[in-house]
């Protein structure tokens, strides 16, 4: 797992946002409504019920004349209406004004208003009826001793009956009785009373009908039914919401728990990853240190071996020379021996001239041997620390040849030396350049000595001045080197000689020596023969 990949990062962000949204949604649904609000709503609804109950009770009291004042009615209606208004506009009762309950609430308020209107009318009818009912017995009593006594009495009882049982028969009966009574009476007082009787009987008949219908309407009003509906609907909704809230609550708790667990796991994982990273870092440092140490060790070993190798190359060259040197010295030694023996044999008869001639020859040969040994000594001296100096090319070439000229002779190889000018000088450590030249000469000799392909065996040393450099080349009769060998020519340890014969370091060390002296060394590809060139500063 690699949480730092940018694609993974985007996915991670999207998932986080989705989770947050999901959590928000669940949370919004899980909110359980405030219990105080709920109880307030229920309380208000209950109060409305009680107010309605009181109102109905007071209406009944009114009907039975137990209630004289309308103030309690006014108070009850006012209270119920104000409760209704509160349900309608107070923000506390917001949950009563939702889609399902609002029509019920509106219904309830509508019915309540209708009921209030009915009660207003009922009060009016009730007052009028009450007065007329009170007055009627007085009128009837007025006529009790007259001839209208029976009619008025039965009229009165019919009216009283009509108050309880509003049947058509009774109305007919009442009007029939009214018709029986005279329109006008001679006595002024009687006449007034008769008018009053007619008026109040009519009033009672009219108003008791309306009052009764109003009463019925009020007491059978659907206000309480609507209120019950509202309460039930609200409680249903509340229950559903509560249940839903609780279940979402559980979901929320579980999701939170899961998320918490997930976060802990991720955290743990991250921690272990960082721990690993720490370990890796620490290891890395250790490894780097170790490798560096190893490298530097290898470097120093390499340097050591370089010097060893240089030395051994030198030794090899020496070894190669040893034969030559032995030969070189052996020849004069045998000449000395020969001269000395001759002198010894003819010691008695030798002319002084002969003695002089022979001893001269011996001295001359010894001088030559001494010169060879001097050259050898000079060559073998480790010249690493030697200072560069301006040296005649002639001297270098001569010094080199003293070490090996005999070898060439013995292998019948012609050595040709050609210097453009005898006063050519180079700036170098002469021993080094001698070593390089010796190396070239040895290589050439090795290539030529055992081959039969080349009949005319020669080696040519040529020196010339080019601008501010001196070019010294060694060319032999060979026909050049194949390209595959050319490429690897200067590599260390590359050799065409059989194992044990060459180290493969000769040319590479020579190249290093020349470049150290500020010059260059290369194999001349353009030459048809095998030709090595060194250029040194003049």
């Amino acid at each position: 797992m690699n949480p730092l990949k940018s694609r993974n990062k985007t996915i991670f962000t999207i998932i986080s946002i989705l989770i947050i949204f999901a959590l928000g949604f669940i949370y919004s649904r899980s909110s359980v409504s405030d219990i105080t609000v709920h109880s307030k709503i229920l309380h208000t609804l209950e109060q409305s019920k009680i107010a309605n109950h009181d109102l109905n009770e007071n209406v009944l009291r009114l009907k039975t004349f137990l209630l004289q004042s309308y103030d309690p009615l006014v108070r009850d209606v006012g209270k119920q209406l104000s409760l209704c208004k509160r349900l309608h506009s107070d923000p506390t009762y917001e949950s009563l004004r939702r889609e399902q309950t609002l029509p019920l609430l509106n219904d309830y308020c509508q019915f309540l208003k209708e009921k209030a209107d009915l009660i207003e009318r009922y009060k009016t009818q009730h007052s009028i009826l009450r007065n007329s009912m009170k007055y009627l017995p007085i009128v009837v009593k007025h006529f009790s001793d007259t001839k209208y006594s029976d009619t008025t009495h039965s009229l009165f009882s019919n009216v009283i009956l009509y108050n309880f049982d509003r049947s058509e028969d009774l109305v007919d009966n009442i009007y029939e009785l009214l018709r029986k009574l005279p329109k006008k009476l001679s006595n002024k007082k009687d006449n007034e009373m008769m008018e009053s009787l007619r008026l109040h009987v009519n009033l009672i008949v009219n108003y008791s009908v309306t009052r009764a219908t109003l009463e019925e309407k009020i007491l059978s009003s659907l206000v309480i039914v609507k209120l019950e509906h509202l309460v039930n609907q609200y409680l249903d909704w509340y229950q559903v919401r509560q249940n839903r809230g609780i279940s979402y609550h559980f979901v929320l708790v579980f999701v939170c728990f899961g998320l918490g667990l997930w976060v802990v796991i991720i955290f743990k994982r991250l921690q272990s990853l960082t721990d690993d990273l720490h370990d890796l870092n620490a290891n890395l440092e250790m490894k780097v240190a170790k490798r560096t140490k190893e490298l530097s060790e290898a470097m120093s070993k390499l340097e050591d071996s370089q010097t060893v190798l240089t030395q051994s190359a030198k030794m090899t060259a020496l070894g190669e020379m040893a034969g030559g040197i032995a030969h070189e010295i052996n020849t004069p030694l045998s000449a000395i021996l020969m001269n000395a023996e001759m002198l010894m044999d003819r010691a008695d008869q030798a002319s002084p001239e002969l003695i002089r001639k022979r001893t001269e020859a011996i001295v001359k040969i010894v001088a030559r041997v001494s010169k060879i040994i001097m050259g050898l000594k000079r060559f073998s001296r480790n010249a690493d620390d030697a200072e560069r100096s301006r040296v005649l090319v002639q001297t270098i070439v001569d010094d080199t040849l003293t070490l090996c000229s005999e070898k060439f002779k013995s292998h019948s190889v012609n050595l040709e030396i050609k210097l453009d000018r005898s006063d050519l000088t180079v700036l170098c450590v002469p021993e080094h350049i001698s070593q390089v030249l010796l190396n070239f000469l040895n290589n050439s000799l090795y290539a030529l000595k055992d081959t039969d392909a080349i009949s005319d065996k020669w080696i040519s040393i040529h020196a010339s001045k080019q601008d501010d450099q001196v070019e010294i080349s060694v060319t032999d009769a060979g026909t050049g080197l194949p390209e595959s060998i050319q490429a690897k020519l200067m590599q260390p340890f590359f050799t065409t000689k059989p194992p044990g014969v060459g180290t493969g370091l000769g040319l590479s060390i020579s190249k290093g020596i020349v470049e150290q002296s500020g010059g260059e060394m290369f194999y001349d590809k353009r030459c048809p023969n095998t030709r090595f060139v060194i250029r040194l500063p003049a």
């Binding site: 209630l67 004042s69 007055y135």
Partner: protein, 345 residues
């Protein structure tokens, strides 16, 4: 043996009887609690004495008192509430129709402001539920104060004294709702307590004269009390003008205001229906009826008996009832004579 039986049985019998009596007594005592009995009596009483509400905000009421007499509440600073609801003339103005801005006349008689908070609805036709709604009426009526709330608020805001008063009392700036709040608080305090009749109801039987007591009996027996009842002796129901006889036909001609509550509900049965007015301080609030057509109280009683009760009252009864009505005149509301400073602290 028999004696022994008697000795044992007698105490048992006595104990059992005692138990039964105890039980009966206890259960009957439980049937009605004291408060229930009191409630029963309270609910049956027809007229109750007036009481000043105890939960008044005196400071608001005093501000309302200032505003009540403030002519800036009308167009061109011509009239104030007090112009038509004078405290000297029983909370009304003694005119048939009140004079508003630019000398315009109203179309109904101005009812008294005293005890008006106890009316179950406001205006003759009951078109407003309470005083909060009532105030808008005269303020906007071109025949009364003919102004707007914006104008009033602007005028009052120009007065540094008013700004300070509102700041002190409401801790806020002047606004329509606060002006109304103060006015209603003041009007709620305008209760005429301790009328002789209230004192009589409270148990002082010397508070009324013989004639007044007789008048109260007749007020009850004739049935005036069927509509004029409750704490305000009226003001808690609607009734059509002219139950027994056609009042308007006999008075002559119809006026715009005669339709009554019909304007509000549009129902035919509400035609000519008016709020039954309070009879408190009726002695001071002549002329009478919604049309202010009757200047004499005795004639008013006579007319009411005819048109509403269908009765013809003898002269002495009218006189007694009038005397009784005079006993309904209470003391001037305390708030009118109290000094603002005394409450400020």
């Amino acid at each position: 043996m028999n004696r022994l039986k008697q000795l044992v049985l007698l105490p048992i019998l006595v104990l059992a009887l005692y138990g039964i009596f105890y039980y009966v007594e206890k259960s009957s005592a439980n049937q009605y609690s004291n408060t229930e009995v009191q409630n029963f009596i309270y609910k049956s009483s027809t007229i109750e004495p007036l009481e000043v509400p105890s939960d008044l905000d005196r400071r608001k009421a005093f501000l309302g008192r200032e505003l009540f007499s403030d002519k800036r509440l009308s167009k061109g600073n011509q009239v104030s509430c007090h112009s038509c609801h004078s405290f000297e003339i029983g909370g009304a103005d003694g005119r048939q129709f009140s004079v508003g801005v630019d000398g315009k006349l109203g179309i109904v008689n101005a009812p008294t402001v005293f005890n008006s908070a106890k009316n179950f609805k406001q205006f003759w036709n009951g078109r407003e539920e309470d005083l909060f709604g009532q105030i808008d009426g005269p303020i906007h009526d071109p025949r009364e104060m003919g102004t707007t709330w914006d104008e009033i608020v602007e005028k009052l805001k120009a007065d540094q004294m008013m700004v300070l008063l509102f700041n002190e009392i409401f801790d806020a700036e002047i606004s329509k709702d606060r002006i109304i709040g103060a006015l209603v608080e003041f009007e709620t305090a305008l209760v005429t307590e301790d009328s002789p009749f209230d004192l009589f109801l409270k148990g002082d039987h010397d508070a009324l004269t013989e004639s007044q007591i007789a008048g109260f009996r007749k007020f009850e027996t004739y049935g005036c009390v069927a509509c004029h009842q409750g704490q305000n002796i009226g003001g808690n129901m609607f009734l059509s003008m002219g139950v027994a006889f056609n009042y308007f036909a006999e008075r002559g001609g119809y006026f715009e205001s005669d339709v009554g509550r019909f304007v509000v509900t549009g129902q035919e049965h509400d035609r000519h229906v008016f709020k039954v007015p309070s009879l408190r301080n009726v002695q001071l609030t002549a002329p009478y009826f919604h049309d202010g057509s009757e200047p004499s109280l005795e004639n008013a009683v006579r007319k009411m008996a005819r048109y509403q009760l269908g009765r013809k009252l003898p002269k002495e009864d009218i006189k007694d009832i009038t005397e009784f009505l005079k006993s309904l005149t209470g003391k001037k509301p305390k708030i009118l004579s109290e000094a603002y400073e005394s409450v400020k602290k």
